[in-house]
């Protein structure tokens, strides 16, 4: 595999180098746009003591929920974890550490991590438990808190299409946190539904440029729906 060709042949290869205690950034919102197969591969590898950064933590028996079952997660940084009974149990038993972070602050911390911005000020969370221990400073007469960026050892990302160079496009709202995770991983692994030849994707319409991506793999996805809601 030469130079800019990021394709790997197996999920084992996709996560080569992932070891106990690492920080893993996982894309997705609810069950939408989650890297299902990469999550399953982490389970298969049995990697433990992980810090996982993701907006949610899957549900019982699916998505990141499977890593809770195997007690592979030591710390979770997320904005909403309410869909998961195991989560609650492990939190109450002290097995799991949780850092709840406002959704927009979480997205911005990750974008900042990828963009070389170590910290930024935001009004979000001022005067709430989120602000505890954080520096407060006023800008334009309004108090803001200082938030630090987040980066990870690995980012696991779900794309729709990618070319060999790792240029990725996402489908509909399956985009969500994926681009920020991709930019903030030291090693960024993207699983996609389709790999196309370089030149097939419109250069002006790439969501994640290949420079952020280290490995890509084509997978098959269940795409489970969390709340199927229809009009009659």
């Amino acid at each position: 595999m030469a130079g800019l060709d990021k394709r790997v042949n197996s999920y084992q290869e996709a996560l080569a180098g992932l070891t106990d205690g690492m920080t893993v950034l996982a894309g997705g919102f609810g069950l939408c746009g989650i890297p299902e197969n990469l999550i399953n591969e982490i389970r298969r590898r049995g990697t433990r003591e992980l810090t996982v950064v993701s907006n949610n933590c899957g549900i019982d028996h699916f998505g990141l929920g499977v890593l809770l079952e195997e007690r592979q997660i030591r710390k979770m940084i997320a904005s909403y974890v309410g869909e998961n009974i195991l989560f609650e149990q492990q939190l109450l038993s002290g097995e799991l550490e949780v850092e709840l972070t406002p959704q927009g602050t979480l997205a911005e911390k990750l974008r900042a991590g990828g963009a070389g911005i170590p910290a930024f000020y935001t009004a979000t969370g001022y005067g709430t438990p989120v602000a505890e221990g954080k520096e407060v400073r006023s800008f334009n007469g309004r108090p803001h808190i200082l938030e630090a960026s987040i980066t990870g050892d690995f980012a696991i990302v779900k794309g729709w299409k990618a070319d060999h160079f790792g240029n990725v496009v996402y489908r509909h709202t399956a985009q969500n946190f994926n681009p920020m995770m991709a930019s903030a991983g030291r090693i960024t692994v993207v699983e996609v539904e389709e790999i196309v030849e370089p030149g097939e994707l419109d250069p002006a319409q790439i969501h994640t440029p290949g420079i952020y991506v280290d490995r890509i793999i084509k997978g098959a996805f269940e795409k489970r729906i969390e709340k199927r809601t229809v009009s009659i």
Binding site: Y80, L91, G104, A107, E108, G127, R171, T173, N176, I225
Partner: protein, 218 residues
């Protein structure tokens, strides 16, 4: 009589203005979309990265890759745009959303809001609520005026951990529409058939009652 959930949504919908970009929270706020007044056009923002949220899909349109912030399957309207969570909260934090409607456990006379955590019970997380209340100038909180046990949710000072500090100016409950000014709730409208006395009784925080408090009409 106390407003129904639908009437609450209907009343909130009267605050919509032509051309507004609106973020609707989960629950009663979601229902507001059903009562957009005739002749005005609004665009609904869903903080998972969708501007131009449409109706729920028909069975054959359901797409796992197109959901709203409540994780429900949705559709997008013509002229919608879809983007990352960072871009979505750039819009929200940057004050580009014209109106935000969300639920709460408690609101107080200083405009503080508590909506995400009840210590001792399970902590589910704040999701996007802290960003929404910090980013918007124009927020309407919808909630019942009192708990099922009759405890007021309009307080002198929120008891629960805050979602945001000093950011709420408008509250619609099942009994009344109130504005928060100078450390007090101002009673602006009451639900049809609900007396001022009942509202006074169920409001724990300082309440200012103007001479004339109109009844809402539906």
């Amino acid at each position: 009589m106390a407003l129904s959930r639908e009437q609450m949504a209907q009343r909130v919908a009267r605050e919509l203005k032509d051309g507004y970009y609106v973020n609707l929270g989960i629950g009663i706020p979601t229902l507001v979309a059903n009562y957009v007044p005739a002749g005005i056009q609004v665009m609904l923002q869903s903080e998972n990265g969708l501007l131009g949220m449409g109706a729920f899909p028909h069975e054959d349109e359901v797409d796992a890759d197109l959901i709203n912030a409540g994780k429900q399957t949705v559709t997008s309207v013509p002229g919608a745009s879809i983007f990352s969570s960072a871009e979505s909260f750039a819009m929200i934090r940057g004050g580009h959303v014209d109106l935000t409607v969300l639920g709460a456990f408690e609101v107080d006379v200083e405009g503080n809001i508590a909506s995400w955590m009840i210590p001792g019970k399970m902590v589910k997380g704040m999701g996007g609520a802290m960003d929404l209340v910090a980013g918007a100038d124009n927020i309407i909180v919808t909630m019942t005026h009192a708990s099922k046990d009759g405890e007021s949710k309009l307080l002198s000072r929120c008891m629960l951990p805050l979602t945001g500090s000093g950011c709420i100016r408008k509250v619609l409950t099942d009994l009344a529409y109130l504005e928060i000014e100078n450390g007090a709730f101002i009673l602006r409208e009451r639900a049809p058939g609900v007396s001022v006395a009942e509202i006074v009784e169920k409001t724990a925080g300082k309440l200012v009652v103007p001479e004339y408090v109109p009844e809402m009409a539906f």
